[in-house]
Symmetry: C2
Subunit: 308 residues, 2 copies
Amino acid sequence: MSKLVIVGTVAFDAIETPFGKTDKILGGAGTFIGLAASNFNVDSAVVSIVGGDFPQDYLDLMSDRNIDVSGIEIVKEGKTFFWSGKYHNDMNSRDTLVTELNVLADFEPKVPENYKDAEVVMLGNLHPSVQMSVLNQMPTKPKMVILDTMNFWMDCALEELHNTIKHVDVITINDEEARQLTGEYSLVVAARKINEMGPKYVVIKKGEHGALLFHDDNVFYAPALPLEEVFDPTGAGDTFAGGFAGYLAKTADYSFENMKTAVIYGSTLASFCVEKFGTERMQNLTASEIHKRLDQFKSLTQFEIELN
Amino acid sequence: MSKLVIVGTVAFDAIETPFGKTDKILGGAGTFIGLAASNFNVDSAVVSIVGGDFPQDYLDLMSDRNIDVSGIEIVKEGKTFFWSGKYHNDMNSRDTLVTELNVLADFEPKVPENYKDAEVVMLGNLHPSVQMSVLNQMPTKPKMVILDTMNFWMDCALEELHNTIKHVDVITINDEEARQLTGEYSLVVAARKINEMGPKYVVIKKGEHGALLFHDDNVFYAPALPLEEVFDPTGAGDTFAGGFAGYLAKTADYSFENMKTAVIYGSTLASFCVEKFGTERMQNLTASEIHKRLDQFKSLTQFEIELN
């Protein structure tokens, strides 16, 4: 069984959308990635940090889905990272109301000994130096390193980000961030410039408009499933990345062709994530639900054309 | 050979983009639709109106691509409709600089006698009452009526628009217009509401994000080809509609499955249209260029997935 190391926040979120609001609930990039990847038959571990206020129930919830939580450091006297945000009516933009770093401020990820030979590493959105420190703990280069990042690090840690992405195989980034990172409006040109920065594969996430996968001169486009209702977009990008990484780890096939399927799995899982608040929809997702939705993706995009 | 009636403006455009600007060149929805549809083996006629200032060369250009121009009324003492616009740097928005209706102000379309039994009618963006007057000239209901419209008519002729779309089979509309027409943000819900207004098939155009085709509970998603450079978006939506209508007329198969392919043809032709100013790229497009790009669309969207 392939091993997958996931690094990312495990956090409390408080979310307000036009449909309602939550108290502090389970959130964090590492959590969403882990839950998404748990749908594949992979030996995965989340590396993160939480405070003494983090409920054992939440750790159990991850363990119950076969996620190794031994790499989640618990700082008894500290408080867990907390984020609060409010989505606008169109659900495409949000305001951050509160960001309390708490124990995350001094996070030094420690990869569990038995995961240092993992084939796949998924570096969730964190300071690029923290992401790099994870790679530095792996004695041999993993088969596939995937990195997610955001505009915040381009604004305040651009040099470190450039240093880290030199060492990754795949970057997942949203369209505006790809434009910011490269200064190019065309996503085709932006992807090529990011290629030159290191990642051989570039995944550009476009939210409700789907995702693009670039590799050399190849492009693949996975739509997002058109939904009647997006209830809460929090974690959709991380869920996409977790599905992508989980599928690659499970199949151990890192070809462009297989990566296309990984992107479809990522989009499929993200389409569930947004149906309920936080991680709720992801906690009990079943294989048959996923297969049914993959079928929807097939009919959404597949067509017959005769070229003569 | 199927007959296709196209109603729409034949006009002069003056366009400014970040890449340059043009003097008055050939433009208009009817022109773009006609040129797109001319790539299919269909007997098509453009019904429109121009002034005495309209060059015979432009009419010849259409005739040379087997477009019947006998339904284009020439008002000798009048001036041709003129539109001028300037695109912003992101190419996704534009300002209209000049709109001179000229002969279009009194346009009363007259369908040529030998096209009154056409199987397919493509109603390009015009006042909904003008669109309706075309349908009223057809003694029996055509097999397929496709209507394109825009927000302008929702603002100033909403009742007439509602009256006309009751009689059409397919509506093509962009995402913001679908939201305006229905008051619904979700395109899935918007499409269902438009269904209830008349059109059994709803095509929502999302520009660089592709197009969605809705019918009952079926959805199909055609991406736009990711391009290095969009030189001039003018006419892309009309070209899409012309490719869609032309393919349906040629195949005379109005099933959802075949309409998926029609959407792919529309997207393919639109991807050429934006490569040069105005109609330039569409004037000499060849079948082999189109086939090559259809192949690109296949590899862009097709994937293999094993569900067990």
